[in-house]
């Protein structure tokens, strides 16, 4: 007799691991880092897994209010854990935090409030507030977005008027749409916030500045006079976070509550401008670089679940008696999963490369700011804007495709696919929506068409190299296989980017053309970073597999935008068809390594939190076990039966 499906599933994953042509440990070395680093991360991860509060995973059964209260408990447990184990390094703290399965009410405090104090306060201000903030003795929110304005920061309406008599700023919400809306932790948790307002000195507009505003009483936690606070209500994700609103009615704070590292206001109301407007790019660029990492993580988690499920799941044709296939053997399933395995690696390598450029720049900027440095900063700002727009969109779309490819089980919370997606898609919006970012990016590129561009520092990916491409060239491949060659692929993306930029330049008023130019450039950066990452891999077996994955990714993107690559017949009709054939062939090449490639991300079952994405493939028993936790199953006959169903069932009329 055939092995029952429930027992077969784990065997199938074992079989997958036996066919891999590379060593997964090699892959972990590339993805996570040196072995001692891996060991330390595992140690920190296990602290969370063994913590009775932080390991709780029954949040899916609760509503926003309940999850917020549980989120407070977890925040407390998190900070207690840091203190108990003396984890003081910010990166290590962040690592611990990421293992926790949901964003907590202190999310924005950690990720935005503390860093803003750090980068925007002068030393004297930091001495007063920074340590307190880092040690959670004050809790902060980051209140920039308003009901009426999000991505357009210049449009915000909150005002700050300086009163030299009392040496205070008067913060005020003059309209309905000026109330702060969305900031995480602002509703119930924070007792301070960094608040952005338009500064007026002597009636003169001095632009948007940041202020540290106490909003709740440090003793009682009651909302302070003149301030209205609350939670904005449920959202798609972040159920444990109190995204809030805040309006201010002529609230006064002392002069030194303006964050004064760059812009300053003297006692008499004299204004000192920051040394360069570009300095505000700093934190924005850092966050946008980080989002590439977030794409790696969230796509990686999702495609790990999807790939393992597809390998463990048998499903077949309706032909009677025929043995069914692993779902992962179907071409469409491969076309859904493999490009997303590739996108995870692509995002990881892109993040590394951008982070490297960012750090080089930070060092340079400690010196004198030359025109060249500012150009480089502008270039990095523009590129990371375009990359953020591209990667978040591609990641979100791919994650949802994976979920759909997992059928009904993908629709169930037990797969954890819904949760990962719901939280991730916030990133399509926060820190700038696509339409705004692609404009910023394309505007910079258009400038570069018309002004000389400084040379790139050695050892970095050449972000503007595509400008040197020949816009009139044609693809040189004379055989289908040549389309896989790195130089052929890289050139195709560069020429496409340049063509679309030139077209956008010719049609200046078209946002759509600017969008195409931005995304095409971002995509060519991703392809270059991914390639550079693969080339740096030292294990030849792993490198060979990652190179196949890179080729698959490039050909998949060509297919997805074939019209653009065929512009002016850069690719001929035949070459277009070849690119599809090659893509389908690469699916078969990558197939034996698919499970090993997702194992290589190194996500633990705890982080995956998925009945169908477990390492061991025991998916059916896991699904059944999960269902036992559903509170509705506590009783056989549901309480509402007596009140609402019985009258229906026992009488003809009510």
């Amino acid at each position: 007799m055939a092995v029952p499906l429930a027992d077969l599933a784990p065997l199938l994953l074992k079989k997958e691991r036996a066919t891999a042509t590379f060593d997964v440990q090699s892959c972990l070395d590339v993805v996570i880092g040196p072995r001692d680093f891996q060991a330390r991360r595992n140690y920190l991860r296990d602290l969370v897994i063994h913590d009775p509060v932080l390991s709780q995973s029954d949040m899916i059964y609760h509503n926003h209010q309940q999850r917020y209260e549980m989120g407070l408990q977890k925040s407390h447990a998190y900070i207690q854990l840091l203190r108990k184990h003396n984890i003081t390094d910010e990166e290590e703290r962040t690592w611990v935090y990421r293992v926790i399965r949901e964003a907590l009410p202190v999310d924005v405090h950690r990720a935005m409030f503390v860093p803003t104090l750090e980068t925007q306060m002068d030393d004297e201000q930091k001495a007063i507030w920074l340590t307190k903030a880092k040690e959670y003795q004050i809790l902060g929110a980051y209140a920039q977005t308003e009901l009426g304005h999000g991505s357009n920061v210049q449009g915000i309406e909150t005002t700050a008027h300086y009163d030299p008599k009392t040496q205070e700023f008067i913060l005020h919400s003059p309209t309905i749409t000026s109330r702060k809306w969305w900031p995480g932790g602002l509703g119930k948790t924070a007792n301070h916030c960094v608040l952005h307002a338009r500064l007026f000195l002597n009636g003169k507009d001095r632009g948007i500045q940041a202020f540290l505003i106490p909003i709740r009483d440090p003793k009682t936690h009651a909302t302070l006079p003149g301030i209205t606070l609350g939670d904005i209500g449920p959202k798609i994700g972040f159920q444990a976070v109190d995204n809030g609103f805040c309006s201010l009615n002529q609230v006064r704070v002392p002069r030194r509550h303006m964050l004064m590292r760059f812009a300053k206001v003297d006692v008499d109301g004299t204004f000192s401008k920051p040394p360069s407007d570009k300095l505000v790019y700093f934190t924005m660029v850092k966050v946008r670089v980080f989002i590439a990492w977030l794409c790696f993580r969230c796509v990686g988690l999702t495609v790990t679940i999807g790939t393992r499920f597809s390998a463990a799941r048998m499903q077949g044709s309706s032909a009677k008696g025929k043995v069914e296939n692993q779902v992962l053997d179907y071409e469409n399933q491969q076309l859904t999963m493999f490009p997303m395995i590739a996108l995870s690696y692509a995002s990881l390598f892109t993040w590394r490369e951008m982070d490297k450029i960012y750090n080089t720049m930070v060092e340079q900027l400690d010196g004198v700011l030359e025109h060249e440095h500012l150009f480089m900063l502008g270039q990095l700002h523009a590129s990371t804007s375009g990359l953020k727009a591209l990667l978040t969109e591609e990641a979100a779309n791919g994650m949802e495709r994976i979920r759909r490819a997992c059928g009904g089980h993908g629709y169930s919370a037990a797969s954890n696919l819904p949760y990962i997606f719901q939280v991730f898609i916030g990133a399509c919006t926060f820190e700038g929506t696509k339409d705004v970012l692609v404009q910023q990016h394309a505007a910079f590129l258009l400038k570069c068409l018309h002004f000389p561009v400084p040379l790139t520092s050695e050892g970095s990916v050449d972000l503007l190299g595509f400008l040197q491409a020949d816009a009139h060239s044609k693809c040189s491949a004379t055989t289908p296989q040549q389309l896989r060659e790195p130089q052929v692929l890289l050139q195709a993306f560069q020429v496409r980017a340049l063509k679309l930029l030139l077209r956008a330049d010719a049609a200046k008023t078209s946002l759509h053309h600017l969008t195409q130019a931005s995304l095409a450039h971002a995509e060519s950066i991703v392809l270059s970073c991914f390639y550079q990452g693969v080339m740096a891999v030292s294990d030849p077996k792993l490198q060979a597999v990652l190179l196949q994955l890179w080729q698959l990714y490039g050909l998949w993107r060509i297919q997805a935008n074939l019209g653009e690559f065929r512009l002016d017949d850069y690719l001929s009709s035949s070459q277009g068809t070849w690119s599809q054939d090659q893509l389908l062939e690469l699916l078969r090449v990558v197939r034996p390594n698919a499970v090993a490639l997702v194992d290589g991300f190194g996500f633990s079952d705890f982080e995956l939190n998925s009945a169908i994405g477990r390492y061991d493939g025991d998916i059916y028993r896991a699904l059944i076990e999960r269902a036992t936790h559903e509170p509705l199953n506590a009783t056989d006959v549901t309480p509402g039966y007596h009140k609402w169903l019985k009258p229906l069932l026992t009488k003809a009329s009510l």
Copy 2:
């Protein structure tokens, strides 16, 4: 002084309505039907709106368990309302049900259980069970899907062995993966289910058959002996529904509990096959036809919200002092919204056409079944499979694009965009996942390539007309404007469909090629149905606008699949560029009518349930009002503060 944004928003929507070039009432006549029909629908809708239970909308604050209990209460209120107002017509009941803002625990009872009894029971069986089911004196589920098998019905493992001695069937779940999993209402609500199992007579496999199984005690509602029932836990949507599991341990039911309209088992265990295997297509086709309507409704609701919000929302460049624009004036926003307005109308007209063909066929099938009739049924089954795959995917993707284009407010439950999407995307999976459906569709089309095809009945869209196209032709447009011409557009879609089918025929093993062929054919049907619908509009002003929308839709689909349309240079590179230019030009043409076109769907504010999609455009006050309902706002200081935050804030160490 400028008008405050909160006051400006309603004025902007008024302005939009003043610029429309057609009468919205004309549009309602097309979308909903004759005036008396509209009046009756409004009357029925208002019954729900004024019902104290059915009008409740605070479900977003509750978890699955709470919403299920509320769902029972609403089910009770719904049936009470039907009885009180003597609403007995099934279509009217359905209309009332759809106005309620969420799917209820009786959802599957209404939509699947009753119709299955109706179509699969013989008259004697109907006499016993059908009225009871219709009047909610028994409550049923539809238990087909198992833990191990969904879309592949032939793979289900539950068995039914006939015991001639007792004249009973013995139903059994032989494996872990054979337990029923997912059926709505099965966990807690239903006391009967239609259950699919593989029938064995005298050890001989007689295929999958349907049985009526009592699962809960009619007096106590307790689970019956031998049966295990429960809820599978939270999902993305359908929080008020108890999607359940069921396993059976040698459960016996009398012989006449098999649904015997087509297949029959005699007392002695003799099996009578159904007259045609094709008859099982019947209900499947009906449901797939219905899903086109569902796409109309859900895309329509979503794009109504998105379009009104985009018109009421001002957002601008960062240029200081410059007046901001309506978001709807941005090209990218138009490219997100307008094709989805078009897709709503396209889905509506496609639904009508398919429904017409379906009904013609039902009449024909009452007579003798000729080869031609069975072919027509096969053709409709194949086409609706492909349409279901195409429309659900395009609808879901477009709905998510709209949500993202609404920025942060789209991420908030107050917009209702998350809820509509989360429920809708179930339709990408239920009733067959894309990968299975496109195979069925393409397999039929491939057969048609090699065998003569009967003629289409007059007055219907010619579903297989594309087979007569010339696969070697080129697009005839010699000017950009010619690309808008109906014959040019329709032909482009037909040639593309034929080319992709021929390619799939040449590469028989490629599921990807089959998928492309299926989707291309489905898309050409949609374009034809949409065009036919527009041509039938009697008001010339409305017709002119809908024709523009149709052109926009066609050109948008060409852009989305430009690589396919450029295969063998059917479209030249210049024609490809023209198609983009024409699309962008049509955005400007459609722009003045955008808000009127969504008003024309006729969705009430109650059904939209969206703070940002209201008819009056008073979006900012509505968002603020919504937030007052959030339970977390009941107290200023959250209860968890004392336990979890205070110890942090007041001590350096815990």
